[in-house]
Amino acid sequence: MANYSTNEFKGGLKIMLDGEPCNILENEYVKPGKGQAFNRVKIRKLISGKVLEKTFRSGESVEGADVMDTELAYLYTDGEFYHFMNNDTFEQIAADEKAVGENIKWLVENDVCTITLWNGAPITVTPPNFVELEITETDPGLKGDTAGTGGKPATLTTGAVVRVPLFVQTGEVIRVDTRSGEYVSRVQK
């Protein structure tokens, strides 16, 4: 993988830090009039998800990370791996539980997810912003509540638990924002 000098730093560049692939979020050039030049860089570690700040001497080089995003449809899990397929080439890739992480609860068959590959292997799986899932269990709500003020917990087919308005019932399909984990609306079947 190529090396990058600090002059090439910008948001989105993937570099290696402490043996982990990272994404540069922000880069600021710091140069006191008569002083040494530095780059103050905000970085997200792609495996741990940690965001940190690092300072480099300007002109220094760092190793690039071979990281790419690919759009793949979720197929199924065999209990150990989660299998995805490229809808154009039919090529399949298996991601382990570590790569899927918390997002296990948003995996819906045939939904196209963003899989981040490092050296060809999946490191993170990002579900679509919105998914549709059926409610398997929720308390029967009070009739006449349409404002959904209080809300109640509802368990979905994947095991995810989401707060829904009182009028939403078991067996209904709802639309959820996977970024916030919040209920959006009911979906007509």
């Binding site: 600021e28 710091v30 006191p32 008569k34 002083g35 040494q36 030049a37 940190l52 700040e53 300072t55």
Partner: protein, 326 residues
């Protein structure tokens, strides 16, 4: 992105008008004070020796000596303007392009516009008052400016003393300020202090009105006189406003032998850091031999001043064609 094609300027017509108006205001300010506008060459045979400032250079193939000559684009008009002062020019100012061979950034373009002026008979305190008057006029600031020594800025905002604190407490403070850099210990003390200044002090000073920081450590004297009352500090000041370094001024060193010694020391530091030595500007030193009147001088970044005036968040918003489109 707002400006899709690289032939296009990155400015708006409004900022171009604001620049013209700012330059008009500055010229009116100096005209009213009877300070003379001058021009000096942008290409010079000598250049700065500072370890951390680099000039662009080029070859002049048509010199009357018949031999190619290296010329440098000025990093500031300081030496040439001091030669004028030595030739009894009286108070002078210049608005012109300066060049630094370094990277781009939110506050940096390698080619920029600099205002520099010199006041014979002034010390740095008198000059700070004049800088303040100019800033109040062009920025319309209504609050009084802050004044703080370099030492007190560190004591107040970081709880350490830049002149006396041991290296270990400086390292400790850097970690507390979130300065995570490999080989921190190998940075010079001045670089460590400068990092602490930009991460820990700059965001806290000059928020409502300009802040004048003065009496820099003697190791960062550049071309300023060492203070006669405290040899640990130099009579140098900088002006900070809304998170940016706007100006740098000196009570000017006039002693030619000491000036030559500082150039030589700079070049020694360059060699130790694996950098090429820089030719010393002999015209400037000869001028000092003939006598520089007691004076104070300051350089101010016009592009940054304009950024503050129009509320720009990136220097590209005030420079028509930044280096990536030059």
């Amino acid at each position: 992105m707002k400006h899709e094609q690289s032939w296009q300027p990155t400015t708006t017509h409004k900022t171009r008008v604001a620049r013209a108006e700012l330059l008009r205001q500055i010229r009116a300010f100096f005209h009213s004070l009877d300070v003379l506008e001058v021009e000096t060459p942008v290409l010079s045979g000598g250049t700065v020796t500072d370890e951390h400032i680099d000039g662009f250079s080029t070859e002049f193939l048509y010199a009357n000596t018949g031999k190619p000559v290296s010329l440098f684009l000025q990093t500031s008009p300081e030496y040439a303007m001091k030669r004028l002062l030595c030739a009894q020019s009286g108070a002078i100012y210049q608005i012109g392009k300066a060049f630094r061979h370094e990277g781009e950034g939110r506050w940096h373009n390698p080619e920029f516009t600099m205002l520099e002026w010199y006041r014979p008979g002034f010390d740095h305190f008198m000059l700070m008052k004049e800088v303040d008057a100019l800033l109040h006029e062009v920025l319309g600031a209504t609050t009084d400016s802050e004044m703080i020594t370099y030492q007190n800025a560190f004591i107040t905002h970081l709880g350490i003393d830049p002149l006396t604190s041991p290296t270990s407490s400086i390292h400790q403070k850097m970690l507390e300020c979130g300065i995570d850099i490999d080989g921190m210990e190998s940075l010079s003390r001045d670089s460590q202090l400068q990092l602490l200044f930009s991460y820990g002090i700059e965001p806290k000073i000059g928020l409502k009105a300009p802040c004048f920081v003065y009496n820099f450590p003697a190791s960062q004297a550049a071309l300023a006189k060492i203070s006669p009352s405290d040899s640990r500090v130099a009579e140098r000041f900088e002006v900070y406003f809304k998170g940016v370094e706007l100006a740098n001024g000196f009570n000017e060193l006039s002693e030619p032998a000491e000036q030559r010694e500082r150039f030589n020391q700079d070049n020694k530091k360059r060699v130790l850091s694996g950098l090429p030595e820089k030719p010393i500007d002999e015209h400037f030193l000869q001028a000092l031999e003939s006598g520089l009147p007691n004076c104070a001088g300051v350089a101010l970044g016009i592009d940054r001043l304009l950024m503050l005036q129009v509320g720009a968040s990136h220097i590209q918003e005030v420079i028509n064609f930044p280096v990536s489109r030059a």
